[in-house]
């Protein structure tokens, strides 16, 4: 039951076991278990502020869990030393919410950046590789633009090209649809699926856009209050009668996720003001 071996019995490239994480004394996650099978696109969904992005950082080793562990290819992430952690990260690519492109470098240099840093490839090969990646996201013609000249959708596509520059095995997407128009959204959805299948990678998509996500992912985890409240394939979840899933999938304002932030009784609160 203790998979220390380098060849995992199951084919989960990332496993999250009984993970708890707290910021200061605020408990963000309480005992989360997730499995990410190789070659699949898995979505992590939940309301804003439910710690979905933090989960990605835990997988990438930028944060350390309070309890439990994240395993990537069977290795416990937070137990790796710096060198091993960096070795592990080279297998990962991450698309940040707003792209996080390097503002002082051109589109071409942004995509070339990981190659220049991690390989000694000659300039001509780097050029070919960068154009290949940019072509895959449809922005080969924009190679000389600066990030400030790109629209939101375009900069996310460039960031995607950069994230897959070194052909990672795990690609993580942090809110890839936030703030995009429907056309750009469709483009990104397409790209995620296509890149995943072309590279044979595993994708982890953090999002709250139910309809976009349900259309292309293989498996979904619902996170709420620091716990996994539901999981399953999109088809299963669409039929789910669980109140939370129902509320989320159908976008209802009130339900298990309350409309009100926790507060004392309304009537009492008003009376206290009068008596003071």
């Amino acid at each position: 039951m203790n998979p220390v071996t380098s060849t995992p019995v199951n084919d989960n490239i990332v496993e999250i076991d009984n993970l708890s994480f707290s910021y200061g004394n605020r408990m963000l996650h309480k005992g989360i278990n997730m499995r990410f099978p190789r070659g699949k696109v898995v979505a992590i969904m939940g309301g804003s502020g439910s710690g979905k992005t933090t989960l990605l950082r835990l997988i990438g080793g930028q944060l350390k869990p309070s309890i439990g562990a994240v395993r990537v290819e069977g290795k416990v992430v937070h137990e790796q030393d710096d060198a091993a952690l960096y070795q592990l990260r080279r297998k990962m690519g991450m698309l940040f919410q707003f792209g996080a492109l390097f503002t002082d470098l051109s589109v071409f240099e942004n995509v070339a950046f990981p190659m220049r840093e991690h390989t000694d490839l000659p300039e001509s090969i780097i050029r070919d590789l960068v154009l290949l990646k940019l072509n895959a996201v449809g922005l080969r013609g924009a190679r000389d633009l600066m990030p400030s000249e790109l629209s939101g959708g375009m900069s996310r596509r460039v960031a995607l090209a950069r994230a897959v520059a070194l052909d990672p095995q795990i690609i993580m997407y942090d809110e890839p649809f936030a703030g995009l128009d429907p056309i750009s959204m469709g483009v990104i959805v397409n790209l995620i699926r296509r890149l995943n299948d072309a590279l044979g990678a595993t994708s982890i998509v953090v999002t709250h856009d139910v309809h976009e996500a349900f259309a292309f992912v293989d498996y979904v985890y619902f996170v709420s209050n620091g716990q996994v409240v539901a999981e399953g394939t999109p088809a299963e979840l669409r039929e789910s009668v669980m109140p939370f899933v129902h509320q989320f999938v159908h976008g209802e304002a009130d339900g298990p996720v309350p409309f009100h932030y926790p507060a004392p009784d309304y009537q009492k609160d008003m009376l206290r003001g009068a008596s003071a």
């Binding site: 990260r89 991450m94 707003f98 996080a100 840093e117």
Partner: protein, 258 residues
């Protein structure tokens, strides 16, 4: 009453905490410097932005500071009939104090704030996080080259400041007022010592370079990732660098005079 006391206590522990964090950041930056020093183009690029871009403000300020020193020095010295000593006064004031100190203050305002804002924005837009996820250490890639660029640029800027300042003093005293040129230079040369004055001035500017650059880098790296956080960090860079430079100048001068 208890509340204010508590507040003061909080601020003191906060300050100590930050100081400790800053020291750890500084030492860590040094420890990963080897990698960035091996990649000289990174450092050269940053010297361009911190050093070369600061040239104009440094040179113009130096010229005016030197000219003012020449005027004031002449006015006072001629009362004692030793107006030739104006060269000594200008040179010593610049080489020992004003060169390193004013350069450091201008550097903090020109290059320091730029560094803080740049790193703060890189953090706010998750560029540093993105680097980490690409398995690239942002301290080694972003912070350390800027640190070394600052440390290299500062003494160069300070030397230029002193030289241009002396030239400004020469313009006013010799060309404008008519102090004897030979006496101006010979008095200066016999009273400015290479080791005691010039080398010590260079040492000062190196120390100021370390202080200003690491403060600017730390404030940027530590800034809350918001527009307000970055703007506050920029202000703190100027305030903290200036105070640190002046305090360090006192300490260094005290050591050097003994």
């Amino acid at each position: 009453m208890l509340k204010t006391l508590e507040n003061i206590g909080h601020q003191v522990t906060d300050a100590i905490l930050r100081l400790g964090y800053a020291a750890r950041f500084f030492i860590y930056s040094l420890s990963v410097s080897g990698e960035s020093l091996r990649r000289l183009p990174l450092v050269i690029r940053e010297i361009y932005f911190t050093g070369v871009m600061s040239l104009i403000i440094i040179l113009v300020s130096a010229l005016f500071v030197g000219m003012v020193l020449g005027l004031q020095g002449y006015n006072t010295l001629q009362r004692y009939g030793s107006s030739e000593a104006v060269g000594v006064l200008v040179a010593l004031a610049l080489v020992r104090e004003l060169g390193p100190v004013v350069t450091a203050l201008l550097f903090a305002g020109r290059a320091g704030t730029a560094i803080t804002a740049e790193i703060g924005l890189m953090k706010a837009t998750e560029q540093l996080s993105a680097m980490e996820m690409m398995a690239i250490n942002p301290i080694a890639r972003v912070v350390a080259p800027r640190f070394w660029a600052g440390v290299i640029s500062m003494p160069i800027l300070a030397a230029l400041f002193s030289l241009v300042g002396v030239f400004g003093g020469y313009l006013v005293a010799v060309q404008l007022i008519g102090v004897d040129s030979g006496a101006f230079w010979s008095q200066m040369q016999s009273n400015v010592d290479f080791r005691d004055d010039i080398v010590n001035g260079v040492i000062k500017s190196v120390v100021f370079g370390v202080a200003c650059t690491s403060i600017a880098l730390f404030e940027g790296y530590d800034a809350p990732p918001t527009a307000e956080g970055v703007s506050r960090a920029t202000t703190r860079t100027v305030v903290n660098s200036s105070l640190t430079v002046l305090a360090l100048d006192f300490i260094l001068t005290a050591f050097m005079l003994h």
